[in-house]
Every structure is written in structure tokens, then in C-alpha cells.
Symmetry: C2
Subunit: 249 residues, 2 copies
Amino acid sequence: VLLKADHVLIAKLKTIGQLAAEEIRALLAIIGKTRQVSRHQDIVKDGSSPDSVTLIVSGFACRYKLLPDGGRQIHSFHIPGDLPDLPSFATGFTDHAIGALTPCEVAVIAHDELRKLTEAFPNLALVLWRDTLIDSAITREWLTGVGRRDARARTAHLLCEQYYRMRAIGMADDNVLPFPVTQVEIADALGLSTVHVNRTMKTLAREKLINYHNHSITMLQWEKLQTAGQFDPCYLLRSDGNLRRADRK
Amino acid sequence: VLLKADHVLIAKLKTIGQLAAEEIRALLAIIGKTRQVSRHQDIVKDGSSPDSVTLIVSGFACRYKLLPDGGRQIHSFHIPGDLPDLPSFATGFTDHAIGALTPCEVAVIAHDELRKLTEAFPNLALVLWRDTLIDSAITREWLTGVGRRDARARTAHLLCEQYYRMRAIGMADDNVLPFPVTQVEIADALGLSTVHVNRTMKTLAREKLINYHNHSITMLQWEKLQTAGQFDPCYLLRSDGNLRRADRK
DNA sequence: CGCAGATTTGAATGCAATCAACACTGGTGG
DNA sequence: CCACCAGTGTTGATTGCATTCAAATCTGCG
């Protein structure tokens, strides 16, 4: 039988690259038990050396870092199917925390088991590697925004990206994006103050680019929102590497 | 004979993880010809689908992205031994450009050859994967800075990081950091204006934390500079993953 | 020498932070 | 049941860090 954890992981991996049926089967086989994490609890602690990788089965999480002065920077939002601490598999440690923004179900995958698989299936290793690379492409895009885009563009960009990713795993439709994240958290992601996030979201709503109620965002003018956010989804796109080049021949 | 390209690559890989002599030999064997790139030229173009990976043999480079409005965000600086477009090996495309900040010597490593090696040596694949992960840890750290640190801390942090990385490959010593990068480029890296970078560097010099002449920076008070930049090098540290865990037993 | 790029400094402007207050919500306990 | 409270969202007023504009050196180089 296919569990919920299996479903979300398959949905996610499909957006990254092609896996053989055998590879998928082997990967699903090593998914461990799921556990519940309540809101605002850490799924992974900063500075730890985990011996397993976490799969978000349901709920919203984020990767973040706390500063000595009490500030917080959120580096990414994580949605079902994500493996937010996959990097720890290759590096052995984490330099950041993963926190639950909503109640989450998470499953663990032991490093040991995963290592056997990556050694047996180089292609699986490549797809996982690619996952971490898309992840860092997202981080770079955020860096670009925080460094060189104003509050409005930054906010619009985040909404576009989030909608795009949610749609890819079948969790957003009809221009409606479920976004169960407080303005405090959006502020820590965008490098803004909560007050300014509030004003900026209001501006986007006043401009009729979005509708924002009950942590659900409706894209009223998707094209205009993308323009406002200078959003170009190419960095999120699935690419099959060699496969793609082979196709061209 | 060991070429310059071999030397810098070995020096770099040593900072990332352990490789067997056999693995190193195989890797060095597939390093292609070196070519010269003059200052301000692109080593890799944005949006391209390269079929080889670039090794910086000498010189300074950066990864960057241009915005529609003419702005630029630099995502990372790259020094000899770096493989700035290694991500393209796993994803097949680039969503950013790599530019030469000084005249550079670069060598190419064909994707095809590299793929054979990673399939033959899973450990080599793991080390390369880890390299891209350290790279993204750096990007996250920059994101934290641009999002939540003021100009002084951001600048100090960059100098600490750069000194740390240069020292690791033997290109900085005695508290002297060669930093052949203009203030325009520092500004595009830190998300500041050039004017403000200038003032901030002057401030750090006035405070006697650094000395800054001829694109060479002397760390006058290394401890204080780290404090000012909230710099904690753990995200740059070499970690041997399983090895480390095994050691503990 | 002349010129382009880089650095430096001053003055004015502006975007976003901070401070402050209030409304609204859901949950808790008296 | 209602009072209370913490967390969240909203709005106005003020402040400040960093930008922009402007102009003056300084440097290397053809």
C-alpha cells in the first residue's frame, strides 16, 4: 500500500528528475515512521549532527537561523515532499534549524540506509543532489531579492515562487495559494519588518494583484504579479541534465 | 607531473573531505586544457547548458545575476580551486552567470568524464556534492547578512569569510588578505551602494579593525572583526560525515 | 597628456524601521 | 459565560540608515 509519505515524496521527486521504478521502490522502502511536530517546534536543531533525513509529509516548515541579537532570518519555506535537511546527509551536520510553521507530520529516512541506496543507484544520488541544488537556487534567488529588490517586488516574488512550488505538488489550484504563514514569518523571510510586510501586502491587494484572506492568497492578476516580482520560474524548473541534451540530438 | 590546476584542485578538495589516492588520480586525469579569461568577461553565461565544469586555476571570479532594472547581485566570490559551476553538472543548466573579477586561468572538466567517475566512485560524488552544499551554506550566510545584519556587520562578515577561505587554500597569511575586488563589486555582493561600502570600509579602518590599501586587507584585530561580523566559521568547516560519526565510536 | 575607472566626501532624499496604539482572533481559566 | 491574555493584523507618526545625486580626487594606462 502507498502511504501518505510515499505519495508526497513521489510527487516531489517527479518534479526533480526521472527515477526508475526500482529506484522509487527502494527509496520508499526505507522511509521510517512518521511523527507529529507541533507548531513552532524545531524539527531539526541548529548545529546538530543528525543520523537521518527528514521528509515533510504534511504541514509547512522553514529553515532558519537565529542571530546573536535576537533577529531571525528564514532561508526557505518547506512544503510536503521536501527533504529540508537532505544536506546533512552529505555533510554530516547542520548549520541552521528547521522549524514547523504549522503542525507537521514528518518521516525519517536513516542516513545509513540512504547511503546504501545512493551507492547502489548513482542516478538516485544524482536526483537527490539535484534536489539540494534547486534548493540552493531558491536561496540565491532570495538573496537577489533581499539584496536588490524593493519590498513590493520581494513580496510579489515570494508569492509567485510559493504558488509555483505548491502547484507543482498539486497543493495549489485555480490561482489560490494556501499560505499558512504569519506576517512575522514572512518578514523574517524577506528581511523586512512585520509592519512593512503588512503595508506591502495591503498595497498588492489594493492594486488588485492579489486577494489575501485567512492565510489564503488568490492570484487576481498572475501576469502582473510575476512582472512586479521579476519572477522567472526557470530556476525551479525540472531539468533532466544529460537526458535533455540527449533529446536535442 | 603536477600542473598548477592539479595543485589548486587538490588543495581545495582537501578542505572538503577525504579522497582515496585512486580517486584523486582519476579526477586529475580528466582535467582539460586551461584557458585565459580576461577581466570582466563571463566564464559561464547565464542560462546556458554547459557540457563541462569549470575549475578556477588562478584569479578571482564571482557568480552573479543581472536584474531587469540593471541591478546586479553577486552570489559568491570564487577563488582558485573552486568549481563555481559544478551545480550545472547535476542540473544540466545554469540560472546565473560566472564572471571574472580579475584575469583568470580556468580549466574545464567534461561532464561526461566526470559522470563516469562519480558512477565508479560514489565517495567522489559525495565529496563533490558536499562542495556544492558548502557553497549553498555560504549563500545562506550571505542571505542572513543581507536580510538581518547592518552594513558594518555585513562587511566585516564578508572579510572574515574571505580571509578564512583564502587561508584554507594557502593564499592568505599573517593576517593579510589579498582582495582584488572593487568597491562596486563588494557593493553588489553585500546589497549596498558603492558609496556606503566606501564609508563602511573607512569606518572599519578608522576603528583599527582592518587596514585597507591596494586591494589588500590586513586584519588588525581579528577577534574584534569576527565579533563585529557575527562570524562563526562552522558553516565553512570540513566535515567527514560518516567518518566523523565513526570516529566517535 | 588625457581619459576611464575607482575611490572619496558632502548634501539631500527616501525607503523601511521603529515606536506606539488599537482592533481582532482564538484559547484559557476563573 | 465572560474576562483575560497572547498572538496576530492594522494604521499613524517619527526616526534613521542607506541611497541617490553631485563633484572632487586619485590611479593606472594607452
